[in-house]
Amino acid sequence: MWNRESRFTVLVNAYTDDLYRYAVWLCRDPAVAEDLVQETFTRAWKALDSLRDEKAAKGWLITTLRRENARRFERPRFEYSQGDPDDYADSVEFYDTSTDAFVLRRALMQIDESYREPLLLQVLAGYTCKEIASELGVSQSAVLSRIFRARQKLRDILDDNQECIEVKQI
């Protein structure tokens, strides 16, 4: 039987990367993302005994992080930037530095948050539609519709970009 400290250390080592990545895309500010991840783990520590199934840990932590993110808007003393896509791209260290990836990230930033978040939960967290619906508190059909539209918008933006590049090349 693991003690609390060991369980906590395992969670931190296993999920910090995923949480940070999700937090960066959620708040678009790496410094705030770090705070969010730290705060998420602080809360996780306090509620660690309520986590019965280790397999549910990732979902549990992501839910906590989303709540923390929502909570920061309830604190009027801080002003958080919504992140200009260019500034954001400069301040975050991405693994993929190709032009293709840059264009894709910019496109992702341009789509509306209500469409982007279900897509991120699907791609980054590997959630099913049912899980996303439960996380966002909307119906499954609404999730399906939002993901579908998110992808469509992404494709539209990318297609436009491609056309621009081709025109410039001509």
Binding site: E5, F8, V12, Y20, V37, Y95, L104, L108, V123, L154
Partner: protein, 232 residues
């Protein structure tokens, strides 16, 4: 499964595919191509959104938590120490209060008793002979000979221990004999105060303090007590 359903699942279902889905994929080339493109796009999206976690973030989280833990342990320890100290202090105070008189040495206790409660003025004979006898019996002794008559006898407390005060007639007035069965002494202890003098002498059961006015022959009285009191 028709093409529309297949594409809807491809776009939204991620890995949530069933047999019908697989059959349609192998039967419809266009949909299979759509599926491959979508998978490639998902891969690109996943790859492009990867960010490098700051190197020290995990260590900072663990350090932060261990510091919080240490702080809470320290707070808990402080509370425990405070509780233990409070309990010890309370126990000390209670023991101190209960045994305040016991801590006073026997000599001081006798002087204190005589100066505040006892009297060297004659207060007898107001105790019936039968009562005196029963009191003496209670303390396991009897008196005879030169110490009679007993003017007065009563139970008293010396250092919170049950003792017996017996007043007899001395040469210079009443003499107090304080029998203290629970306070033995190994040798006689002299008592000197402003208006009286005395000594505490060993006896078969504890000790006896003999107090008289200045000038009383205490040695003689000690000898008389030793001869006249019979212990049983």
């Amino acid at each position: 499964m028709n093409c529309m359903d297949f594409r809807r699942i491809t776009l939204t279902g991620y890995d949530d595919h069933d047999d019908g889905f697989s059959q349609h994929r192998s039967g419809c080339r266009a949909c299979a191509q759509f599926y491959e493109e979508t998978q490639r796009f998902n891969g690109r999206l996943e790859q492009s959104t990867r960010v490098r976690t700051p190197d020290d973030l995990k260590s900072r989280i663990l350090l932060h938590q261990s510091m919080r833990l240490e702080k809470s342990y320290r707070r808990m320890r402080n509370v425990q120490y405070t509780l233990v100290a409070t309990v010890l202090l309370a126990v000390g105070l209670v023991i101190g209060l209960l045994h305040d008189n016991n801590r006073m040495n026997l000599q001081e206790a006798v002087i204190n008793y005589v100066a505040t409660g006892g009297t060297l003025e004659s207060i007898g004979p107001d105790t019936k002979a039968g009562d005196i006898q029963s009191l003496l019996t209670e303390f396991g002794m009897s008196m005879s000979g030169e110490l009679s008559p007993v003017l007065h006898a009563e139970r008293c407390q010396i250092r919170n221990k049950k003792s017996l005060l017996v007043q007899v007639e001395g040469r210079h007035g009443p003499v107090m004999l304080l029998f203290m069965p629970a306070d033995p002494v190994s040798e006689p202890i002299a008592i000197e105060a402003a208006y009286f003098s005395g000594l505490i002498a060993p006896c078969p059961k504890g000790s006896v303090a003999i107090i008289g006015k200045k000038g009383e022959d205490l040695k003689a009285l000690q000898k008389t007590v030793a001869e006249s009191v019979e212990w049983f």
